[in-house]
Structure formats: C-alpha cells, structure tokens
C-alpha cells in the first residue's frame, strides 16, 4: 500500500511498490495525460511534478513517492489555464501533441523554480524533452512568453 497525494487527492494505492509511477498513473489511476515515450528517462514525455519538482515518472518507483504529492498535467491547473498552458495555446505550439504534457510540466516546474530564466537556461532545462514533430522553436518561445508575458 502506497500513500500519496495525486492532483490534490490523498489516496492509498494497492499496487506493486516497484511499479514506476508512470504505469501507476496510467494503468491503475487511469490518468492518461502522462505519456510513455521511452521508459528510460530520455524523452520527458512522462514528466510530472513530485513535491513541485519535475521528475520522469518512468524512473520513479511508487515506493519513492510514499507520502509525497504528485501533480500530473490533469492537475496542473483546475481550469487548464496555467500560464504555461495558455502560452502553449497562444503560440499554437503542438503538432501531434503527444510530447506536450511532458513539455508543459517541465516548463511549469522550471518557471516555478526560476521565474525569469535566461534563454540558455530554457534551452538546457527543456533539452530532456524530445519533440519528434520538432516544435522546439515554439516551445522555447512559449516558455519565454509564459515567463515574461511577451
């Protein structure tokens, strides 16, 4: 039994404590916004917040989030209007969209920690998030927009 909070809701999960958080979210809690892209921490599609920090859910075991607070894309903002989400929409960032949950969660964690990142800090922070469709230019612009309002 793992006790944790997911998107503000405390719960006890009866699942293999070694199960990666990614599969617990997707298969046990039916929260499919968090995506599987590689399973080895190299694509960022599964990015969630654990106690406010960006983590790759495919690398975090359920036992490691005992007592912690997990936020997924579904819980980032009650209305889906986090400034990062808004910036993503303002700039028409997505193509297929599959990487975007992870991109948005990564960007939101970056801005929570560093509200005015430099361009280099944005590029470095987002480099773990692959976008096979190649939306990087707009992703970087959108992080900047969410950070500075322009």
């Amino acid at each position: 039994m793992t006790r944790l909070t997911v998107n503000g809701e405390s719960m006890e999960l009866d699942a293999d404590p070694l199960m990666p958080l990614l599969w617990a979210l997707r298969d046990v809690l039916t929260l499919p916004g968090t995506k599987y892209g590689c399973g080895i921490g190299l694509c960022g599609a599964c990015t969630v917040h654990v106690d406010g920090k960006a983590e790759r859910a495919c690398l975090v075991r359920l036992s490691e989030v005992e007592g912690k607070s997990v936020t997924t894309i579904e819980g980032l903002d009650p209305n889906g209007d986090h400034r990062v989400q808004q910036a993503w929409r303002d700039l028409n960032v997505p193509q297929c969209g599959f990487c975007q949950s992870g991109q948005i969660m990564q960007a939101a964690a970056l801005l929570a920690e560093n509200p005015k990142p430099s361009d280099d800090e944005i590029l470095a922070s987002m480099a773990g998030n692959v976008c096979r469709c190649g939306c990087y230019q707009r992703i970087v612009e959108a992080v900047r927009l969410a950070s500075t309002g322009s």
Partner: protein, 763 residues
C-alpha cells in the same frame, strides 16, 4: 514580436498554368431550380484523388450533421498525426458553408473507405486531394440552407443570403439550427450548381487564424491517443519479436513468466515469412493486469530463435557492396540525349557517391492498439494512418469479414509512415481473441526502434561530363537501395516507379544528356516509407553534389544551382526521356507539371531572405538546397556555425511553394518541424545491423535533435497563390532539402565535405 510569426509571404511568381478553358466554359450554365448563385464558381480540376482506392467523397450527408441548436458536426476522415488536416479540412467545409467555427464540432471517422472515400493518410495528400471536395461539401450545405429559408419565407432563393451561421432576407433571419431539418432533406446540389465563395470572401481559409481543434485537450492532457482508451476488464500486452526479420520461435520457456503476479497468459504469435506486407513478425506475447506486470514477465521468457535467411545481414559490408554497385552502370530508367557520347567526349568528368543509413521513424507515441474481440465482432481503437487498411488487414489475419471489424481512430502521437503499417493492431486483435478480453498491445520504444519498417539504406552515385568551359554536358545518377516493394512482393532487387519518381528520374536540371539508373540491391529487413521516402537520399545526393561541383569548378553555390536548373521551363517528360511509367506523385502531369521556374524561385526566396552572399566570420557558412517533392517546391538556406566543434544552425530560411495555402499557420508548423527532422536526419539517424538484427534500442543510441541544438531561428516563406493553383503537399516536402543545405553550409564554414548520412554532431 515573436520570431516565427515575423515573415509569412514570399514574393509571388507567376506559374505556368495548364489551360482550363474547357472547364471554365459554361460553368454557370448548369444552374438549376432552387439554387441561386452568389460569388463565383471554380472549375473542378482533376487530382490523383479520384484514382486512389475508393476515391473521393463530396456528399455533405456523409460529412455534415446539424443539430437543432445549430451545432455543426463535421467528420474528419483523414488521420491526425500532427499536420493539422483534422482541423484544416473541416475548416474549409465550415468556411464555404458560412458556419461559425465556434459552433463547429469535429468527429473522427472510423475506418470506412467505401463510405468516406480514401482515408490513407500519407503521401502529403490530405489537402491536395480533398480540398475541392471539402469546398463542395460546405458549398452544398450553404445552398441547402439558402433554399430551405427561401421555401420557409416564400421568396426567391436568389434573394436569401447565407452568412455567419444563418440565412437572411430583409430583416428576417433563421439560424442554421432552425433550418437544419428542412435544409438537410433537400436534394444535394451538384458542383456546377454551387456558387462558391470568391477568395476574398473566405473567413478562415488562407488566414491561419483557426487553431487546431484539439489544442485545449492537448495542453490539458485530455487528448486521446492510442494508449488512452480503456475498456472494463482490459488486459495489457507486450511482446518479444524475432530479432531478425523472417526469423521465428523455435521453442520458449514461459514458466517463470507465468508464475509472476498479474500475468494472465503467454502466447506465441504467428510468425510471418517475408514478403509479409504488414503482417506481425511473430514472437511471444505476455498478457497481464498492468503494463508493468507484462513488462516484468516479458523479461523472464526464454526463447530460442531461428533467425532465418537474413541472420547474416550486416549493414557495414552491405553499404560497401552498394557503393561498388553504384559505380557500375545500373538498369537505365531514363535516357535523354546520348549520355555515353557525352561522357566519352567530355573534357573532364567529376563524380561522387553519397550514402544514407537505415532510419526508424520513432513517432513520439510508440505503436499501440486496443482490440476487443467478442461474439459480435472485433472493435479496435488505434492510432493508424490508414484505418481502412488496418481494418481489412486485421480482418484477413483473423479470418473475419471486414464488416465484422470496426476501427476507431484516435489521435496519432506522430506517424511519419510507421503507422501506415498496422502490424500492432493485428497483434492486439489476435491476443484479444485468444484471451477473451479487451487487450491493449503496447510497443516499448525498444520494440519500435528494433522492429520498424525501416527507411531504406542507399548509395547514390552521381557523375557529370564537363566541357572545356566547365559546363555540364552529361549527367549519370545510379541509385542503389533496397526497395519498399520487397515488403509486398518477392524481391527483384530493384526500386519501383514510385521510388524512381522521388527525385531520381525527375531530376529537373537542364542538361542535354542524362542517364538515370538503378543498381541492384536486395532487402534484408522490412523496408517501409519514412516521411518524404526516397526523396531524402535523392535530395541529399543531388543537393550535396551541387555543392561539391561548385567547389570543384570554383563557382558560387547559388550560381551553380541556378545554372543547372536553367531557364524557367515546364519539363516535357517525354522529350527529356522520362520512363513511360513516370510517377508524378499520382497526379495528372499537366495539372501538376515540373516547373523549374517555381523551383528556382523558392531557392532565390530562401537565399535572399537569409542574405546569401553576406560576409560571415570564420567557421560559419550558408548552405543552399532545393527540391521538388509531393508536387511542392521547397528550398532551404541554412546558416551553419561550428561552435567548439559542434555543428549548430543559428538561422534557417525555408521557402515553400505548395500552391494554394489553405492554412498557412499549419504549413509553417510543418516546415518548422521538417527542419528539426531534417537536422536529425543529417546528424543522428542511423540504424545499423549485425547478424541480421538492428543494433539500436532507444534514445540512448538512436537520438534526435533536442532543444539544446535545433535550427535556432526558422523562418518559413510561403509563395502566395490563388485557389486556381493546386494545393500541393506540405507534410513531407520540407524534409529533403534540409540535410544537404546543412552539409553545404558546413562545407563553406569548415571546408569539410560530408557524403554519408548521418554525419554526426561534431566536426
């Protein structure tokens, strides 16, 4: 101002248009009874869409339904994998209909080509083939609304206007919702009866202001992809597949796997013997209560394999063989003038060979499918580019009638050609039948990298004959690559007309003596199509060769390109020795001719925009390349800068001529994406084989361009055209010119010439 929004329109160029007088004449003469006209007709121009399996449908009763509250529901019948067609085609219908976009809903069609027409979403065809049908669908509904209102009010239809979701007459107004029942019961007008909007009346088309329909869902995690559909009692499957194509299971021991918690069962999948089209490879699948349980159990299965006939495939020696083959004369596909004499009489000759390794598409969403087999039939939910092929292939594999199979199409987390081949759907269906429960078959990234339908590997040899003045008098290009055909039919070792038509026989330079050849190479893995297909190695070879030749002759790159392209001309394929089976992307040639004026124009647009010729510091250079593919013209101007030994591209200008641009915003996003994929092709994408098996697994050894080194500032220039210039491909044609432009820029920057793809991130 945000940089990618800076520049939109490129300078216009007049296009050599086919004569359409025959179509234009009398288009108003067909006007009938209830339908009064407004605006202007457009002639119906032929495209290859009619020739595709199941052709085109333009019947509004198939695509449109309208609720009494006025909600207009439009069917998207093409798969959405990131190009935006799921938004763009309905947007065109809505505009022509005068529907208010805020009151439009989009539903995705299931795989049913007899009903919806062709749904095979690849070949950069969605807008190109379906744009006229979309206008017809919308225009029909507008007329039906007009006629219904006229009947209601007892006035002439000609006095009723239809704008912004309502019919109007004097101070009377009726919303689409109130008219829907009467309107949709009226006869559907013919194309000739419809008065289409003129271009200046478009509200959404050509504006680029409509956002993709799924934008909010994507940014909130609600968008539904293949792995996001769940059914009660659903089980989760993963599989181990033969490491070598054509291999099979000799024996396996699943005792440990079966003893693990949550495991439902372990099943051998039927193996396929090449050429197996899209049939599953076979192997052993494990089905469990969660993905995690299935993955863990999979690791415990012990399998003995028979590798089959391809167990000794090694891509390194194979490449050397292909390079040797390319030096010889191949099967001649196109002969123009007297190439042998041109080479025999040449003052000198110059030749180089360009190569490319295999590639895997790795769409961000790995293959996945949910199948539910019951006594009533089989229902599928899957991200598939060709839902009807998925339906018929899976029906055949299970011995079902296609009528017993329904394929629901989710959003695709990328496709790039991989998801045209629905082996993963068939696997899910076989397992659901076996288990007696809904089964989600999930491919891991390793599975995806190691069991792809790979982009071919190739050696392209180009030689030219030169006269005393350094003018090119002869051209010989021998392309050697395993063919996609080997996936479908016994392998004859030669490429086929579709591959030959992708930048090979259609080489557009004005050279009097040409020999286009194809040397033999046999496939040893599954070969499939990858975004832009054979255009990638051909544009790489030809584009790099132009840079090589310029350097050899001491000429400027841009001048070299323009000299080879020559004066603007519409290529006459017969006069230039093209083969009779010349494949022009499935289009009627006269409607979509090769226009070298358009080719040169996009090159000039990109070169001018980047400031080609400006002085740059040491270690920097601008590279140019241009290529026609999918009947569009795209040029790339790449500013390459080597920083601490790393290849970077701080600025890139892309010029595209894709005819009428219905959704410029999505065209820009496709082209931006193509620059990233093109740079990945240039620097990273290599699948190698040893003992028949691919050696790469995941992003650790098959990486892609990331946000720390992507084309830094991409500006897309769209050559403007009216609706009378066919909309042409967008999804694919951005990719081919990128790698050669980067290589040409790198050469200017460093003097190093790369002739093998990929060439790595460092110099």
């Amino acid at each position: 101002m945000l940089k990618y929004l800076e520049t939109v329109d490129a300078p216009a160029l007049s296009v050599i248009k086919p004569s359409r007088r025959g179509f234009l004449a009398g288009s108003a003469a067909f006007m009938l009874g209830v339908y009064a006209t407004r605006g202007e007709a457009f002639p119906k121009w032929p495209t290859g869409g009619e020739q595709m399996p199941h052709g085109l449908r333009d019947d509004p009763l198939i695509f449109v339904s309208i609720d009494s509250d006025g909600t207009v529901t439009l069917v998207a019948h093409r798969s959405e994998m990131g190009t935006g067609s799921r938004t763009s085609l309905p947007m065109i219908m809505a505009d022509e209909m005068e529907a208010d976009w805020d009151r439009v809903k989009i539903v995705q069609a299931e795989g049913d080509e007899p009903k919806y027409g062709n749904q095979d979403t690849d070949g950069s065809r969605s807008l190109r083939h379906h744009i006229q049908a979309a206008r017809k669908i919308g225009g029909s509904v507008r007329h039906m609304m007009q006629a219904a209102a006229a009947q209601e009010w007892g006035v002439d239809a000609g006095e009723v206007t239809v704008t912004n979701h309502a019919a109007r007459h004097g101070d009377k107004m009726m919303d689409f919702g109130d008219l829907a029942e009467a309107a949709m019961a009226l006869p559907v007008p013919t194309h000739e009866e419809i008065a289409y909007k003129s271009e200046d009346e478009f509200r959404y088309v050509g504006k680029g202001e409509v956002q993709i329909y799924d934008l909010h869902d994507i940014t909130t995690g609600k968008a539904v992809y293949g792995a996001d559909v769940s059914l009660p009692g659903m089980k989760y499957a993963v599989a181990v597949r033969p490491p070598v194509v054509g291999g099979k299971v000799v024996s396996f021991d699943a005792s440990e796997a079966l003893a693990m918690p949550g495991v439902v069962g372990v099943y051998e999948l039927p193996h396929s013997i090449p050429p197996a089209k899209f049939a599953p490879l076979g192997g052993v699948a494990v089905v469990a209560d969660t993905t995690w349980a299935a993955l863990q159990a999979r690791d415990q299965i012990k399998i003995e394999w028979d590798d089959g006939p391809h167990g000794d495939y090694s891509s390194g020696p194979f490449m050397e063989e292909m390079k040797a083959t390319a030096l010889d004369k191949g099967k001649v596909l196109r002969k123009q003038g007297d190439p042998d004499a041109a080479f025999a009489n040449a003052a000198r000759t110059f030749g180089q060979t360009y190569t490319q390794d295999h590639m895997a598409h790795i769409p961000m969403e790995p293959p996945v499918a949910l199948a539910n087999y019951t006594a009533d039939g089989l229902e599928i939910w899957a991200p598939v580019q060709s839902p009807y092929a998925a339906r018929t292939d899976t029906a055949a594999a299970l011995g079902l009638d296609p009528e017993q199979v329904r394929v629901n199409v989710t959003l695709l987390g990328g496709g790039f050609g991989r998801k045209s081949k629905a082996d993963y759907v068939t696997e899910a269906a076989l397992l659901s039948r076996e288990v007696g429960a809904p089964v989600r078959m999930q491919w891991t990234r390793d599975d995806d990298v190691r069991h792809c339908f790979y982009h071919t590997t190739s050696a392209e040899r180009i030689e030219v004959a030169l006269d005393d003045a350094g003018k090119v008098t002869g051209w010989r290009h021998n392309s050697v690559a395993p063919s996609i055909l080997s996936t479908f039919a016994p392998d004859g070792g030669h490429q086929f007309m579709i591959e030959n038509g992708m930048g090979h026989v259609d080489m557009p330079f004005a050279i009097p003596n040409v020999s286009v050849e194809n040397g033999q190479a046999f496939a040893h893995t599954r070969i499939g199509w990858f975004r832009a297909v054979s255009n990638v190695p051909r544009a790489w070879a030809i584009g790099s060769f132009v840079g090589d030749l310029a350097a050899e002759l001491g000429k400027d790159q841009r001048e070299m390109w323009l000299e080879l392209i020559g004066a603007p001309r519409q290529v006459d394929p017969a006069a230039e020795g093209y083969p009779e089976d010349f494949w022009n992307y499935g289009e009627v040639y006269d409607e979509f001719p090769i226009d070298t004026g358009r080719l040169a124009h996009v090159l000039n647009v990109a070169a001018d925009a980047i400031g080609y010729g400006k002085a740059l510091p040491e270690g920097e250079g601008i590279g140019l390349a241009v290529h026609r593919s999918f009947v569009s013209y795209v040029a790339c101007a790449a500013h390459v800068k080597v920083v601490d030994g790393k290849i970077t591209v701080p600025e890139m200008h892309m010029a595209i001529d894709c005819g009428f641009a219905a959704n410029p915003e999505r065209i820009r996003s496709q082209i931006e994406g193509a620059t990233v994929m093109g740079m990945t092709v240039a620097l990273h994408s290599s699948i190698t084989f040893e003992n028949g098996a691919p050696q790469q697994h995941n992003y650790n050894d098959y990486d892609v361009v990331r946000s720390d080194n992507f084309p830094g500032k991409v500006i897309t220039h769209i050559v403007p055209h009216g609706f009378d210039t066919h909309a042409t491909g967008v999804g694919e044609p951005g990719v081919p010119p990128v790698a050669p432009a980067i290589a040409n820029g790198l050469f200017v920057a460093t003097g190093q010439r790369k002739r093998a793809l990929p060439f790595g991130e460092t110099v």
